[in-house]
């Protein structure tokens, strides 16, 4: 019977159900977790003996650049990223290539091999939504969704400037439906608009050109709209001034803006059974904190400002972050933050691309190599780990590399090992530039994350943060039957043997998607259907009509006709709308 399986005798780590390494059986019927299988069902079910192994829900990546125009620009501008990394076609799987920016097929297989089953694209420019959906549809196996880039959107800047919050909310709701996207992404608010004029914004209260909007007003406005609508996830913020020495202050001040805005998730979904309250309670989800935490005044005197930001977050309950770790080696930097990419170009002289997305946003791409011999890169490595180790409550943190900005997602196993093993960190300290130790607090940290913590950082909290905990991130009754079995015995865990950790995390013993084994020891064994999630946000028809009059009026500034703007559902693999704000 497809999608029916029993995973027996594993050590289960399911933080949303407060299960910490208990030996348990997990049963899945027709793709969903059930309490048990009847004797008849057991006869037809696949059975996996997970004795001595670690069992978690399937991995959930809440911030990764995997589909759309800028990822593809990265692929096109980097033939050198592809010629050494090839994947041969099999009867079951496609061929593929690419290391930091792999082709869509390879991307899906690589994620599945590591035990990930759900990945959200971190930045979808509205005009590029079709392209993004085409690539997500072609990415095998992974359940996906994308965040819509709205932090420099002309309509929203105008509505928020004029205090028309109802129209702003109606616009966001309409845009989510129109482009089949999931949440609000806000990149360098007010700054990317200035980049269209060769400029940026330098502080939270600097008004931008023409719209006279400040970053503070954009963050506050969007965070409020987010909760007015009851979006599944908090405002997803890429703060201003990213990647500049001294930027930690603006980051901290940005986090203060949504303090006091109450999280109000209004989703009409069936919730999987969990012991913890699976609904979100954060009003801001700051992404790649590492890149936003430099202290100092120049690259000569820069140091880690993570401690300061972490102290703030430790004392507040409205913030959740992802780390943006930099595990050394090749990367491709890609972001909606056009001016930040230009700064990196002037710093490195590398090839780069930049694009303006009409009335909506911008983006840039540049290849980058993080070197152990480089003082700043070494410091960044330490800072990335600090973000996850200095913030005490793991329910405020998510592990990412901002793939492929800090490094490709295939480096996650190495990052997990650093988090779980002080010996592993010491080893890297001994290999990299001394700035890593001298200019960060990481050397004094002896905290080692447990498998339970890792399950929070890579599954439970990612799913809970983005509002997917109703079906992902746990093994509770009714949850999707997505399971990862790592060949790692928690009873014999030795944090000094970090090579073993890396090996186990890099190739899951089994990756199970909706009750079907998709990968065994890293080898793809089946390629089942996937889903694409988006937010179908409801507002009053009247409000939507009023708003659309405006939008149509301003659409004359676009290079395409209004009728051609929406992304039809046929661009999505198994479109799965999530009803938002239905009961008002």
């Amino acid at each position: 019977m497809a999608g029916t399986i029993a995973i027996k005798n594993g050590y289960v780590f399911d933080p949303l159900n407060e299960i910490n390494g208990d030996v348990m059986d997990i049963f899945i019927r027709d793709g969903k977790v059930v309490r048990e299988l009847s004797a008849a069902e057991m006869q037809d079910a696949k059975v996996i003996d997970a004795t001595g192994m670690t069992v978690m829900a399937g991995g959930v990546d809440s911030h990764s650049h995997v589909a759309g125009a800028k990822v593809n620009a990265g692929r096109q501008m980097r033939p050198e990223d592809h010629y050494k990394t090839n994947l041969m076609k099999t009867d079951l799987t496609h061929s593929g290539s690419g290391y930091t920016v792999p082709s869509v097929y390879k991307q899906g297989y690589d994620y599945a091999a590591m035990g990930y089953t759900t990945v959200f694209e971190a930045a979808v420019p509205p005009l590029e939504a079709r392209h993004t959906h085409e690539e997500m549809r072609a990415t095998p196996m992974l359940d996906m969704g994308g965040y819509l880039v709205l932090g420099n959107n002309w309509f929203l800047m105008r509505y928020l400037r004029d205090g028309e919050f109802d129209r702003a909310a109606a616009y966001v709701a309409w845009m989510m439906k129109t482009h089949k996207t999931y949440g609000i992404k806000c990149v360098n608010p007010a700054g990317v608009e200035n980049w269209g004029w060769g400029d940026n914004v330098n502080n939270l209260d600097q008004a931008n050109i023409h719209f006279e909007m400040t970053p503070r007003e954009m963050i506050k406005g969007l965070a409020e709209v987010n909760e007015m609508l009851g979006m599944p996830m908090p405002l997803h913020l890429h703060a201003n001034n990213l990647g500049h020495p001294g930027c930690y202050e603006i980051t901290k001040d940005s986090l203060k803006i949504p303090d006091g805005i109450k999280a109000k998730q209004k989703m009409d979904v069936e919730w999987a059974e969990t012991k913890m309250d699976p609904s979100r309670d954060r009003s801001v989800y700051l992404t790649h904190l590492m890149f936003n935490s430099f202290a100092g005044t120049s690259w000569g005197d820069c140091e880690s400002g993570v401690k300061d930001v972490a102290d703030y977050i430790n004392n507040k309950d409205h913030v959740v972050i992802d780390s943006g770790c930099t595990p050394f080696g090749e990367a491709t930097v890609m972001t909606g933050d056009g001016p930040a990419i230009h700064d990196l170009y002037t710093l490195t002289g590398n090839k780069w691309s930049n694009a303006d997305i009409e009335l909506e946003c911008g983006s840039g791409v540049l290849p980058f190599t993080y070197l152990k011999a480089n003082p700043v890169h070494s410091l960044q490595w330490a800072m990335g780990l600090e973000t996850l180790l200095l913030i005490k409550d793991p329910w405020k943190t998510i592990m990412t590399t901002d793939s492929p900005n800090g490094g490709p997602f295939t480096k996650y196993p190495v990052v997990m090992a650093w988090l779980m093993s002080e010996a592993s960190r010491k080893q890297t300290f001994s290999e990299c530039h001394k700035w890593a130790n001298d200019r960060s607090e990481l050397g004094g940290v002896d905290r080692e994350l447990s498998l339970y913590d890792i399950a929070i950082l890579t599954r439970a909290n990612t799913a809970r943060t983005i509002g997917m905990a109703h079906r992902k991130g746990s093994l509770g009754l009714g949850a999707d039957g997505d399971v990862t079995v790592y060949n790692l015995n928690p009873q014999k865990l030795d944090s000094n043997n970090y090579e073993e950790l890396i090996r186990a995390f890099a190739r899951a013993e089994y990756t199970i998607k909706a009750g079907e084994i998709v990968a065994k020891n890293g080898e793809i064994v089946s390629v089942p259907e996937k889903r694409t999630y988006y937010s179908e946000v409801h507002v009053e028809d009247e409000k939507e009509k009023e708003m659309l009059v405006d939008v149509k009026e301003w659409f004359r500034y676009y290079t395409l006709g209004f009728a051609n703007y929406p992304t039809p559902e046929k661009y999505l693999a198994n479109p799965t709308p999530i009803q938002i704000n239905k009961e008002r």
Binding site: M77, R78, P79, E80, D81, Y83, G349
Partner: protein, 273 residues
Amino acid sequence: MAEVVLILKKEIDIKLEAEAITPDAFAGKSAEEIGKLEIWQGPKTYPLAEFFDVERNEGDFAGETAEDTLIRIKGDMLRVKKIGEGMTAGRIEIEGSAGMHVGTGMKGGEILVSGDADSWAGMEMEGGLLHIKGNAGDHVGCAYRGSWHGMKGGHIVIEGSARHQLGGGMDGGEIFVEGNVEGFCGIRQTGGLIAVRGGALRTVGVEMSGGTLLIGGRIERFSPGFEYVGSETGPSFGDFEYAGEFKKFTGDFAISKRAKGVLYVAADANPGL
């Protein structure tokens, strides 16, 4: 040194990709095992024995190690790519011409091509010697498309001429050309030595920031980003001597103000400089 002889036994239509032809892959194998190594043709692989007779001069095996293994290839290899890719030791002698990517990424050992070599010979090479007795195509010792890091070490000697982008992105090692080169010789060079006894067309050393580049003949169009620093007579590098007076430049200042590339140009052949 044990000698394995490969004799081409049929005409090749779609080009082969034969990265399996290295002393490293052959070492310790019998003729039969060598014949089973996989060679790509288009989307398919075939055993090496499909295209080559595998013979040996003495003994049953190739050398115990790559170092003890000599591969002698008989026949025109212009349609066989990647011979000697990534090899670390031993020797390959091609009694004819070599296809694209001969000696790509090689780290040690020697390759002798008695005829011509097609493009990308010694691409991103790290060590060893690649000796081409005839002419070479484009991109000798160059970086792969999109990359800016070309040859890092080793030696390439070309007795004939080479074409465009010789030594592109070169970080180290040495390339000697007895004949001429065409455009973009030493583009983005950051280290190492390129010495060309003949002339060049244009864009010599553009965007170079380090390393040494010598052109012993006429440069048809000299690039504007170089600064004259003085003249030198008869510069020599190891076994290679270059008689006559040379004008010495540094650059290329067109991109970076801190460029440290050194460009020697024969004075007599370039009277206008």
